[in-house]
Symmetry: C2
Amino acid sequence: MNILVTGASGFAGSHLIEALKAKGHTNIYGTAFGNAAFLSILIPESTIITLNLTDSETVNKMISTIQPDWIFHLASFAFVGQSFERGAELLQNNIVVQHTMLEAVRKHAPKARLLVVGSAEEYGLSEQWETPISESHPLRPVNPYAVSKVAQDLLAYSYAVSLKMNIVRVRPFNHIGERQTPDFAIPAFAKQIVAIERKQQDSLFVGNLNGIRDFTDVKDMMHAYITVMEKGVVGEVYNIGTGVGVKMKDIVDKLVAMSTAQVTMVQDEKRFRPLDIPEIVADAAKVKDLGWNPEISLDDTLKRVLAYWRTL
Amino acid sequence: MNILVTGASGFAGSHLIEALKAKGHTNIYGTAFGNAAFLSILIPESTIITLNLTDSETVNKMISTIQPDWIFHLASFAFVGQSFERGAELLQNNIVVQHTMLEAVRKHAPKARLLVVGSAEEYGLSEQWETPISESHPLRPVNPYAVSKVAQDLLAYSYAVSLKMNIVRVRPFNHIGERQTPDFAIPAFAKQIVAIERKQQDSLFVGNLNGIRDFTDVKDMMHAYITVMEKGVVGEVYNIGTGVGVKMKDIVDKLVAMSTAQVTMVQDEKRFRPLDIPEIVADAAKVKDLGWNPEISLDDTLKRVLAYWRTL
C-alpha cells in the first residue's frame, strides 16, 4: 500500500509519519514545501517530494506517478495568529491547495482514499449552551484562517457527495507537542520559560488566559487521523479532541510549576486576538465510536514540550 | 449619499441600479469587468468604473476616492452549471474579490455599509423535513461554486464579528428576469422557445425537471437587497425568496403555454447536474419581518422573460 502525506515536514505531518511507521506501514511518501532536511530522518530521500502544492501540473504528475492508496492531506498555511494580516495568502493558498489535490485525485487516482483536515476554528463563535461542540454545530468562523478551513472542508464534502469520491474529513481541536512552531500559544509559553531559565528573558508575556480549550497530544491526534482513515464513513466529518476543557491559565501555571525558574507573568496586548472565543471543547463521541481514545495525559505532553524547547 | 454597486453590468446589478434610481437615489457608481456599454444607459459615463476587482491596489484606490456610504457587492463569477469544470477560477476569483473588498473598506471607508451576496446554493443538500430552508440550515454545498459563496458569506461574517464592520448579508434563492444569461435554466428555456418560434430549432432541450425551486422576480429581489441595506441588523444574514416552491416542469409548461409554437421536449443528459437537490424553498420570514414582500407574480415574470428573448 502506498501512503502519501502532504505537509510531511510540518508539525502534525512529522508526527503522523512516525505513527504510520510505528504501525508497520512502509511506502510512505511525504511532501515538503521548504526545508525537508528534518524529513530525511523519517523517510528515505527517494520518497521525499519537494513541491508547491498550488501548482496543479506538478500535483497531477505526483499523484499519477505514486498512485497512492491513502492520502493524508495535511498541507496548509496555519498563521492563525496573523489571520487578518496575512488573510490573502491564507485564503488563496489553502483553497487552491485543496482544490488542486481534489482534482488530481479525481483524474489520476480516483479510488484513493483522501483524508482532509479542517479545524475546530471552523465553528468559531459558540454560546455556552452549545458546548461541547459536535459536528452539527453551526460554522461561524471569526477570522480568514478559519474561513479557509471551512472552504477546504466543504470543498472536500462537495467532491464526496457529488462525485462519490472516497473522502473522509476531520476537525481537529487544539493539539500540542514537540516541533510545533511558537506561533501557537503553548510552544510560545514553553519557549519563553526556557529563555527565562537561561536568563535570556525576564518575564513571561501572555495573551488572554481566560479561554478554555481542549488540548490533545499531537501523537494521539495522529492516531485519530489514522483511525478515521481506516474506519471513517465516506463523506463524513469527525471532531477530534479529548472532550475535556482546560483554562489557558492552568496550562501556563502547570508549565511554570515544571520549571525551576522564578517566572513573572506580563499581559501583552499584542497577543490578544480581535475576538477570542471563551470556550472551545469538542464533543468527540463520533470518533470515539470508531474506537479512538486519547492516551497521553496533559501533564506528560507539557513535560515533553518543555523538554523539547530545552534541547534547542 | 454615495452608492457603489459592484457587478453593475451584470444581471442583478443592472436591475439594482434601476431600483435605486426609481427610489430617488443619485450618486450611484457602478463597476464593470468587461463590456460596460449597456451600463452607460443607466448611469453617467463618469460614474462607471471598469476594473478587475481582484486587484487590491485598484480597489483600494476606488474605495478611497469614492468614499461610498453604501456598497452593494454583487460582483462574482456565477458559472453554476460549469461549477466543477471551472472550479479553480470560481474559487479563486470569488474569494479574492470578497477579501479585497473587505480589506479596502476596512482601510479606506471603515464606516461604509457593505451588503454581501451569498446564495441558496450554500445550503446544498437538504432533507425533506428541513424545508423550507431557514438561515440556520446547515451549510452542505455540493459544488465549488456553492463553496465559493460559503467562503464569501462567512468571510464577511468574520469581518463583521471580529472587526465590527458595518456588514449585512443576503442569501438569494433563484431569481429570474430579463438580461439573465442562458447559463441558467429559465432563460435557457425562454431562448430555446423563441428559437422554436423562429423555426431555428426543432425541440426544447431540458435537464431534470423534477426539482422544486423558489423563484423570485429579479426586481423584487433587488428591492429585498435595498430593504436589507436600509434595515438589516449588522452581521446578520437574510434568506431572500418567496417561500413558495414551484416544480421546474410547471415553469416549462407555463413558458410553452405562453408561446404560439408547437414545442416538443427532449431530455438532454448534458443538462443534468452531478447531484441535483430535489427541493430548495426559502423560509424568508426574517427578511419579511423587515417589511419586504415579493410583489410580481411568476406568470408576469415569465411573460417578461419570454418577451425579452423575442427582442434579441
